[in-house]
């Protein structure tokens, strides 16, 4: 088959599946989707093998070379995100097939789902900023459709808000793309990274793009559209949105930041992103503590976790290779473990709602007694989100903490740790309800075994990530996308000196003042 050319396969399969699904009967849609999921999994694995054998791959579509044609490229970072998508979306598709009752609702799900997947793969593999725009736009439309398709009034309102925010974000991004093209005459990221001239036009362009992307990523205070959309959508959709869709704009932001060397040229902007992230952690956590609906808790947790991911930007320091490498590793690992854990948590929350029949937290009393498996799935995902060991979330936090020390930005350490405690507070609040004495006997419904397994598989994967994190981190070095991140031997000691000098001086200074 075409497995030796996985890149076009990754693009064409979801698009074809979307179109075919629209044409076929409902029953056949399911079959087509299963076949397509399988192809996607195989294609992403073969892309991984190709990357490991040959290094990063560039694939011109339709034989037109850049800058005229569209090029797709797969480096380690892109392949990591392709794999993440295949795992999470694959399991979410299985869950959706079991969760959605046969009927028009399920029928509408599949085309939208496949458009979403196509858009995601397009974004991960895009090599130019206009392709990224196309991907973003397609992604937004598919995601809005997925939010709206349950048809309830709240869902429609949430979808409209989401649509407005997403369109505004895309417009801002497009404005930036146009300005950059006007100034430099190219759209390719690699060309831009070489030709980029600091100037007013570039600054405005990048600011507009960043604003648009932050709005789409729901970074505080631009997050208001997210909780109703993610919390109100149907369960498999919530999982896809929180785990994958918002990661797309974050991914683009990270690409721009590194490849256009924003982290080097505008460190203040990085600090700003970090502080917005810190506020997001506080606000998202605080709001999650105050929700009465289970899925809203999980949705606000996403707001907080986006903030966590943002903390990697101020730690990407051009003048400190050690700190930058750790920050990139930690940030990407945070994205991966959040994708797995949040998808698992939304699915587990959906199962709990199926058990109780009501969306409120207070309905959970007694579930830990009668439906321990559902609570267990939620708990495993919670461990990773709280950043407790052993989990991918903990390893990510560890790397970010190390990075904060290595770049002597100690103020991010309390932010991360207090953020972790805040997430522990809202996760344990859910347990608190589930452990309450229930007067009634076992009156809960029983979600299907398949549904439980889907949730558990994703949650367990987020834990497992803590043990095998060296493996995805190895992919990040294919190639080293941080230009300065090549660590010579003994650089650890050097950066330690960087770290210790100021800390010691402050200590020394205070000890001298006191006597």
């Amino acid at each position: 088959m075409m497995l030796n050319a996985p890149i076009p396969l990754l693009m064409i399969t979801p698009l074809a599946a979307a179109v075919i699904c629209m044409l076929l009967s409902e029953r056949s849609r399911l079959l087509v989707s299963f076949a397509a999921v399988l192809i996607q999994l195989l294609a992403s694995l073969s892309l991984l093998l190709l990357l490991l054998q040959q290094g990063p791959i560039t694939h011109p579509l339709g034989s037109w070379e850049a800058p005229l044609g569209i090029a797709l490229r797969a480096d380690g970072l892109a392949v990591l995100f392709v794999l993440m998508t295949s795992v999470v979306a694959g399991i979410a598709a299985l869950y959706a097939a079991l969760y959605l009752t046969p009927g028009p609702l399920r029928a509408h799900f599949w085309p939208l789902f496949w458009f979403m997947w196509a858009a995601l793969n397009g974004i991960w593999l895009a090599a130019d900023i206009f392709n990224l725009y196309v991907g973003l736009e397609l992604l937004s439309l598919a995601a809005v459709g997925l939010v709206a398709f349950s048809g309830s009034k709240e869902a429609l309102v949430a979808a409209i808000r989401y649509l407005l925010a997403a369109l505004l974000g895309s417009l801002a991004y497009l404005l930036g793309v146009a300005l950059l093209y006007g100034a430099h005459g190219t759209l390719s990221l690699s060309d831009l990274s070489q030709q980029m001239q600091p100037g007013v036009a570039s600054s405005i362009a990048l600011a507009a793009m960043a604003m648009g992307l932050l709005l789409k990523s729901a970074l505080f205070p631009l997050h208001t559209w997210l909780p109703p959309a993610h919390g109100g959508a149907m369960t498999p959709v919530s999982a896809l949105l929180s785990a994958l869709v918002i990661k797309a704009s974050l991914y683009i932001l990270l690409r721009l930041w590194i490849e256009l060397r924003i982290h080097e040229l505008a460190p203040d902007a990085s600090q700003l992103l970090g502080w917005m992230g810190a506020l997001a952690i506080a606000w998202g956590g605080w709001m999650a503590l105050r929700q009465t609906l289970l899925k809203r808790v999980v949705a606000y947790s996403t707001v907080a976790q986006i903030g966590y991911i943002m903390l990697m930007f101020p730690l990407l320091r051009a003048d400190n290779a050690e700190a930058s490498t750790l920050a990139l590793q930690g940030g990407v690992l945070m994205v991966l473990s959040h994708a797995l854990a949040k998808a698992g948590m939304f699915l587990a929350a959906g199962n709990l709602i199926l058990c109780t029949g009501r969306p409120e937290l207070s309905a959970l009393a007694g579930t830990s007694q009668y439906r321990p498996l559902s609570i267990f799935g939620f708990g495993l995902a919670g461990v990773s989100l709280m950043g407790l060991p052993p989990s991918g979330g903990f390893s990510a936090k560890w790397l970010l903490l190390q990075s904060a020390l290595a770049s002597a930005q100690w103020w991010w350490i309390p932010v991360m740790l207090l953020g972790g405690l805040l997430s522990a507070a809202y996760v344990f609040r859910v347990f608190h309800y589930s452990f309450k004495e229930a007067e009634n006997s076992d009156t809960f419904h029983r979600p299907g075994v398949g549904l439980e397994i889907c949730a558990l598989a994703l949650s367990a994967a987020s834990i497992l990530l803590g043990f095998i994190a060296t493996w995805p981190l190895h992919l990040l070095t294919l190639p080293d996308i941080l230009p300065l991140a090549v660590l010579p031997e003994g650089s650890l000691e050097q950066s330690l000196e960087l770290l210790q000098t100021p800390t010691y001086e402050t200590l020394h200074g205070t000890s001298e003042q006191q006597p």
Partner: protein, 496 residues
């Protein structure tokens, strides 16, 4: 094979937990079988490991989880001390819990998390570096929470919340300390003392700060004053859980962590030279006296025992801070002795509550006549806590006292004497009531009338641990006794 043993030890409890979670609620017999089978198997495996360690081997398994950062499971002499204690007490606590929870709901959940707790404790004892230690230290927090809130009443939910607030915050502080020491010195494995000792002198203030952070983080679980607030509140949990918190796992994990930091990360020589031990000794002394004073004020039996734990665990920490082999032996051996004696006392308190509904101290009048064997076990435990020979507690205090004199810290002896007097003051009135007050007309709430004393499954563990407490004192000269083992560790620590 030998190097796989630490992992197998860990897995026996972990797999037992998974199996128990999967078992349907009504499979009581099968669940008990899995539980006890795993507990016995674990003891056998630990004994096997001890053989290797005595012969000078150091079985170890490692997995690189992040670049330059490994998870290490390793059986050294200190690990065997704690693992041996936990696995032995585990068997008795499991037996006790099976008897205690007979007929109550949610046993599948309870025993599942119970086994998860012991798995975490094994991980804590077998951890070969601070990173691995931290993983299991936090896992212990997570797996104890469901046990504390087990009853689902508002008080137990509140206790669970307070427990988490204390321990997770402590964990966060500990994490800062661990991350900082990794940034300073890299992946320090336990026992690799060169890294800290050879650090440039201008880094020493930073190392002291990190030391303080580590102790602060660990001090929450070790219930150092003023971080002890969670322990008396967690009293609402069922008696087997109290035994777990006070004797087998949780406070011990904190104390054991402090032992590791002082002996195997910073090294006793360095800590002593840099004057890190004296502040710790002062905190431990304050905790010892404060805990005893508060114990004196309590009217509830379990609360009095809880404050007694606050006080007794700091004997371990006090012993560590006394530079010199005798102090070290005293601290390490008390890790075991306190566990044996306190678990006995909690079993007995649970028996009083479950058999006759006795919770308050003034309800103990004359109970020695009704429950002579339980009361005898309680008396042994109390004598041990006071430090009367031949019970094990005497040995601890003897080593601590002579260790203090050798270390030139004479004031510690005064602390020990004062605390022994306080121990006597809060335990002897109980014993007086139990044995010498007249039997009341009726008990507060008599639940078990079939037996002369109490149900065999509740009685046997209490008697067994009481006998072990005496045996540990009587046979202190044998190599397999706690003292013998602590001497072996001390020998290896001071003469590497």
């Amino acid at each position: 094979m030998m190097n796989l043993l630490p992992l197998i030890v860990l897995m026996t409890s972990f797999l037992a937990a998974m199996v128990i979670f999967m078992l349907p609620e009504q499979e009581h017999r099968l669940r008990s079988l899995v539980n006890l089978g795993a507990a016995v198997l674990k003891i056998a495996l630990i004994l096997l490991l001890i053989q290797y360690v005595v012969a000078g081997f150091r079985p170890e398994l490692r997995l690189e989880v992040l670049p330059g950062l490994s998870m290490i499971l390793r059986a050294d002499a200190l690990a065997m001390l704690f693992a041996g204690l936990s696995s032995m007490l585990w068997l008795f606590t499991t037996l006790y819990a099976i008897g205690y929870l007979e007929g109550s709901p949610n046993r599948s959940r309870f025993f599942g998390f119970f086994s998860l707790c012991v798995a975490s404790t094994m991980g804590i004892s077998l951890a070969g570096n601070l990173f691995t230690f931290f993983i299991f230290y936090e896992l212990l927090t997570l797996s104890t929470y469901p046990l504390i809130v087990h009853r689902g009443t508002p008080e137990s939910l509140r206790a669970g919340r307070i427990y988490l607030a204390y321990t997770l915050s402590g964990g966060a502080v500990l994490l800062i300390g661990i991350v900082a020491i990794y940034a300073l010195a890299g992946d320090i494995e336990f026992g690799d003392l060169q890294r800290v000792a050879e650090m440039a002198p201008d880094l020493h203030p930073l190392l002291h700060l990190v030391f303080a952070l580590l102790i602060l983080g660990l001090g929450v679980k070790a219930a150092l004053v003023p971080l002890h607030g969670w322990l008396p509140i967690a009293m609402v949990a069922p008696a087997p859980v109290s035994a777990l918190l006070h004797a087998v796992a949780v406070v011990k994990a904190g104390a054991f962590g402090i032992v590791r930091v002082v002996y195997d990360v910073y090294g006793i020589d360095y800590s002593w030279q840099q004057g890190l031990l004296t502040p710790l000794a002062i905190v431990a002394s304050i905790t010892i006296l404060y805990g005893s004073l508060r114990a004196l004020q309590q009217t509830d039996i379990k609360r009095r025992l809880a404050y007694s734990t606050v006080s007794q665990v700091s004997y371990i920490i006090l012993g560590i801070t006394l530079f010199g082999p005798l102090g070290t032996i005293g601290g390490l051996v008390h890790l075991l002795h306190q566990g044996l004696m306190k678990v006995t006392l909690f079993f007995c308190a649970g028996n009083y509550a479950e058999t006759l509904g006795i919770h308050k101290i003034n309800e103990l009048d004359g109970v020695g006549t009704r429950m002579p064997l339980t009361s005898a076990a309680f008396t042994v435990g109390a004598f041990g806590m006071i430090g009367l020979p031949p019970v094990a507690g005497f040995i601890s205090k003897w080593y601590l006292g002579t260790g203090a004199l050798l270390a030139g810290m004479d004031w510690v002896v005064a602390v020990l004497v004062a605390s022994s007097l306080l121990n006597a003051a809060y335990f002897l009135p109980l014993l007086y009531r139990i044995w010498f007050k007249p039997v009341p007309d009726s008990w507060p709430h008599e639940m078990i009338t079939r037996y002369r004393d109490t149900a065999p499954l509740l009685l046997f563990p209490a008697l067994a641990t009481a006998l072990l407490s005496i045996a540990a004192g009587l046979f202190a000269g044998l190599q397999i006794s706690p003292v013998g083992w602590a001497e072996l560790i001390t020998l290896r620590e001071y003469l590497p």
